[in-house]
Amino acid sequence: MEGKIIVVTSGKGGVGKTTATASIGAALALEGNRVAVIDMDIGLRNLDVVLGLENRIVFNIVDVVNKRCNLAQALIRDRRIDNLFLVPASQSDNKDVLTPLGVQRVAKQLKNEFNYVIMDSPAGIEKGFENSVVAADEAIVICTPDVSSIRDADRVIGLLYARSITPRLVVNRIVPEMVARGDMLSHEDVMDVLSIDLLGLVPMDDQVVVSTNTGMPLVMHNQSLAGQAFRRIAKRINGEVDLPIIVPSVKTGVWNRITQKLGLNK
């Protein structure tokens, strides 16, 4: 098997890299792929709790890269989703314990065993970023529709181009109501500023927090709008390149429509 390594990165912290890695990884596995998600945020691990696998950690990515165990020992198999595996980060080390060369060696092994390997990168553009992108075939840049996140995304996009990787963009935490009244950049605005291909648009969704609370993968909640968006992103990655990108829109539920008809909405 010759799988693909995809890095999820952003520059800025807290924009949704870990959420996206967990969701896209789980969704790709639900599509029938063998998937490994790797937490590269050494010292600040989180992918394990987001996926609800924190109680099963024995070895971690640092152990694998530094040959304290073999890859199979560090892979945690998800019991709810077939063919989904996690390699957690270590919590006690700092980012300097990994070397790009060591990561590349393990990445080669991973590619032989999985269709998709998704690397959750730490915030920043230093050593941890370097280690996360060194083996990447593709990159997903995550940003939110705010000035600082977009500026950081631009910086990261430049660094990826310098490595001959053409990244694709996911805009996360879109609040359609704010976009509608002109208080949040629309995805078109973001695309104007960044000039990069769009991979998907993810709305702000309370269900993200709920599923992190319970450790149940977001994409398993059928009603979650963010979950649905991530599932479509996974399908696009998985070859359905023409699947239309749905723009998060202001809710038009039955009640909203009735109140609109009656003129009760402002």
Partner: protein, 93 residues
């Protein structure tokens, strides 16, 4: 940082318009490692040069950032009111 230069272009638009303009200029400042002052001076110089040849409406000058793939372009836009017939700096007529 948000001096006259930016204000001229942000006006009373929605907050996202302001955000977009600020971002576009921030990325130019970042890439070229220049600041607003440099752009203001550049604009002043350009106005001066163009004014030698044309009557221009300095109130509706616009400086914009346009991006395509890996290239950013500063686009300077000004309505030309009329040609200054005899005042051409290096006029050959």
């Amino acid at each position: 940082m948000l001096n006259g230069f930016m204000k001229k272009f942000s006006g009373k638009k929605s907050s996202k318009e302001t955000a977009k303009k600020r971002l576009q200029f921030a990325l130019v400042y970042d890439k070229l490692e220049i600041n607003e002052m440099t752009l203001e001076n550049l604009q002043k110089d350009i106005v001066e040069v163009i004014s030698k040849y044309f009557e221009i409406d300095t109130k509706s000058l616009q400086l914009e950032v346009q991006r395509e793939h890996e290239l950013s372009a500063l686009v300077f836009n000004t309505p030309i009111l009329c040609v200054k017939k005899n005042k051409g700096y290096n006029s050959k007529t």
